[in-house]
């Protein structure tokens, strides 16, 4: 009893200054005070300097008329719209190119990554060369390569290259026929949703049956039949309500149809091909990271190589792959700001124009930073959910 009391009192026996708890509390408080006072100092100085330099400040400018046009507008926008709407258009363009880029980069990256582990010498070497070339060239140069090196040297609109299905390729971009859905086409959409729901149900029941009886069911082909077959049936039943709007030659350009501009195309290709090289390496590392014993054990159980990859290797590889994959997705989103070099109206370009037309540099840069921060946090959040579902569930 007595010895315990002595032990308990020992730390506070020294002076107040030597108490580790009080020390850490003191320094933490000091850092917080320093941090907040420097933030306050900077904000205060910005406001004071803006006033001293007679520069208007605040976010009121967002409600004024923008006055300039934007080439790609996913939502209705004219020069009469507000600066705020212009920024939203820019943000949407960034999201469009980022999402399309992420999908394309993932597909290409997984293909190349698996290709690097192929038994086939030629495929393996081609994939290695791809990775070494694309990950060692700065993304801006890749963008210029596609924009100035590939798309700009295509023929002028009047000498467009004719492609199958009434599509055209020229230096102004890629023109496709646009599908125009007529009356009754809602039925096709409904059929598609119904097909997906039924396929999910079939897969669910098949899994239950396999667990209970061990019998397998051809889930894949049934799902394909449901998802593709039902909409096709609906299409035929509703009297084929589909026409195409083909691009046509006019005075200056091709008009009509669906037009993919070279700025978007080169940015998308550059970003996804660049990021795909990194994703390929991540995928390769992930697959290599699964111990060989796992696939040997699966083989010993009598599984064939397809199911081994699908059921044993990839689920374990995904646990290694997803965290670095998230970083690549974030990089791709942020690299999309290089769009400014080729004139794709993404958030950076649009906010830059707004910043210049209004002169609100501090506010403009602040909006850009917040927008990219939110985009990145949302991407991380989604990927964290995916990661949590993939993580090892210990039973």
């Amino acid at each position: 009893m007595a010895s315990q009391e002595i032990l308990r009192e020992e730390p506070s026996r020294g002076s107040f200054i030597n108490d580790p708890r009080i020390r850490s509390l003191f320094f933490q408080t000091l850092v917080v005070i320093l941090l907040f006072s420097s933030i306050w100092w900077i904000v205060h100085n910005v406001i004071e300097n803006l006033q001293r330099l007679h520069i208007a400040s605040g976010f009121g400018f967002l409600r004024s008329r923008a006055g300039f046009d934007i080439s790609d507008t996913p939502i209705a926008y004219t020069s009469d719209s507000t600066y705020f709407r212009a920024l939203v258009v820019g943000l949407l363009n960034t999201i469009i190119v980022a999402v399309a880029g992420i999908v394309l980069a993932t597909v290409v990256g997984f293909t190349i990554g698996i290709g690097r582990l192929s038994q086939n010498w030629l495929i393996r070497k081609i994939c290695t060369v791809y990775v070494e070339i694309f990950r060692n060239i700065p993304p801006l140069l890749v963008i210029f390569f596609w924009y100035s090196g590939v798309l700009a040297v295509l023929p002028a609109p009047r000498e467009s290259i004719h492609l199958p299905f009434g599509s055209f390729l020229n230096q102004r971009g890629f023109y496709l026929p646009r599908a125009v859905w007529g009356d009754g086409s809602w039925l096709i959409g409904v059929a598609l949703l119904l097909g997906i729901a039924m396929a999910w149900f079939v897969a669910h029941r098949a899994r239950q049956r396999q667990r209970a009886t061990g019998q397998q069911f051809p889930v894949f082909w049934t799902s394909v039949a449901l998802i593709v077959g039902l909409p096709v049936l609906a299409f035929l039943l509703s009297g084929m309500p589909l026409t195409f709007d083909f691009p046509k030659q006019s005075t200056f350009n091709l008009t009509g149809g669906f037009w993919i501009k070279p700025e978007f195309l080169s940015l998308l290709l550059a970003l996804s091909f660049y990021t795909a090289a990194f994703i390929a390496e991540i995928v390769r590392a992930g697959i290599r990271g699964v111990s060989r014993g796992q696939s040997e054990a699966a083989a010993a159980l009598g599984l064939r190589s397809g199911p081994i990859l699908r059921l044993v290797v990839i689920p374990q590889a995904m646990r290694i792959v997803i965290p670095p994959l998230t970083s690549q997705y974030l990089n791709l989103t942020k690299n999309s700001s290089l769009a400014i070099a080729i004139g794709y109206p993404d958030l950076t370009a649009t906010a830059g124009t707004v910043l210049n037309q209004t002169g609100q540099a501090v506010e403009g840069v602040f909006i850009m930073m917040i927008a990219y921060l939110v985009l990145s946090l949302v991407t991380s959040f989604v990927m964290n959910i995916v990661n949590a579902r993939m993580a090892l569930v210990e039973r």
Binding site: I42, V43, H44, N45, V46, E48, N49, L50, R52, L53, H54, I55, A56, G67, F68, D69, I70, S71, T78, S79, D80, S148, A152, A156, R158, Q171, R172, S250, T251, F252, N253, T255, P262, E263, S337, L338, I340, A341, I342, G343, P345, T348, A349, G352, T353, L355, N356, Q357, T358, G359, A361, V362, G364, V365, F366, M368
Partner: protein
């Protein structure tokens, strides 16, 4: 990309600048021994480096004129090339002392952006250029409906373009780049049907294209573009120095004072010329501005008078061969008019 950097730097500079009132620009400039002058990244006739790397053009020469007024030496200038987007932040944050970069004087820039325009060194207007070989039969901007138009972002040009097509109920497809070189390259490669900027600029740009003879400037002028230098708002002394440098250039031309005859003009007995050149006994018009009394002599020795500056850079003495037109002196039917030095 770079404008973001400047934007952030500008924002940071605003944050870290000492909040105490800083010294006047004249004192700062005298202390460092040169004027930091913001120019374009290369626009023939206005500000563009020649094959030796010297900046040539009306806008570059205006900065030399201010340097001559302040230091008596027109070479005490350092040039900062700026894109359209970077220019105002560079001036606001104090990175440059004067912005002389084919910049249009507008009410918004004069008020909300914290700038103070000095005068109009070149009266311009916006026009269109097309490739006549590829587009035969187009001889008016009103035929451009449906065209892809190349334009530099962050300019009044971009706004006038939107207004013009809207007013005439025409469609167009803007192809917007941040840097002049990017716009030039895209137009030259055929990405756009038409190029729009100030007409003087179009003539200058046409010279740099791969086949200048194929391109024509359409007759329409769709806007007023008074181009002039600007300084920071709130420093009256510096603004007066820049403004009276400009007026001195005009007055020298009006009085017939040229680079060649300025020294013999100093002996003139014409009181008007005496006041201009600071030879009037007891005159201290220069000293009142914070300069030497013979500042006009220094200016004219460095760059000549306004007319000489014009002809050398954009007029008959240059490849651009632009006529004086409305940029002639008021005495010859133009708009250039210098208030008297007295």
């Amino acid at each position: 990309m770079k404008h973001i950097a400047i934007g952030i730097l500008g924002a940071a500079a605003l944050g870290f600048m000492a909040s105490a009132a800083s010294a006047g620009t004249l004192d700062t400039v005298k202390q460092k021994g040169f004027i930091q002058c913001g120019v374009s990244t290369g626009l023939a006739g206005f500000s563009a480096p020649d094959d030796k790397g010297d900046w040539k053009g009306i806008d570059a020469d205006f900065c030399r004129a201010v340097a001559a007024a302040v230091f008596g030496d027109g070479t005490k200038v350092k040039f900062t090339p700026l894109s359209a987007k970077e220019r105002f932040t560079a001036l606001q944050s104090g990175e440059i002392d004067i912005l002389s970069r084919n910049t249009t004087w507008t009410s918004n820039r004069d008020s909300a952006l914290g700038l103070d325009f000095v005068g109009v060194t070149y009266y311009d207007g916006q026009g269109f250029m097309i490739n006549a070989k590829k587009l035969p039969g187009v001889n008016s901007a009103l035929q451009l409906s449906g065209a892809a138009v190349c334009v530099q972002s962050g300019t009044t040009t971009e706004l006038n373009l939107a207004d013009y097509f809207k007013k005439n109920k025409m469609e167009y497809n803007p192809v917007v780049f941040e840097k002049l070189e990017e716009v030039n390259a895209a137009y030259d490669a055929g990405r756009c049907d038409a190029y729009t900027t100030d007409q003087s600029g179009l003539y200058g740009i046409r010279l740099t294209l791969s086949a200048p003879a194929d391109h024509v400037v359409l007759p329409e002028i769709i806007s007023k573009e008074p181009l002039g230098p600007a300084v920071r708002q709130g420093d009256d002394q510096w603004a007066h120095i820049a403004r009276w440098t400009y007026f001195a250039l005009l007055n020298a031309e009006e009085a017939g004072v040229t680079q060649a005859n300025v020294d013999e003009m100093k002996t003139s007995t014409d009181p008007n010329i005496q006041r201009l050149l600071g030879t009037e006994p007891d005159g201290k018009y220069g000293a009142d501005l914070g300069l030497s009394n013979d500042f006009v002599v220094n200016i004219v020795k460095a760059v000549g008078n306004y007319g000489e500056m014009f002809e050398r850079n954009v007029g008959s003495g240059s490849p651009l061969k632009i006529a004086r037109g409305i940029n002639a002196l008021w005495t010859k039917g133009g708009l250039q008019y210098g208030p008297p030095i007295r």
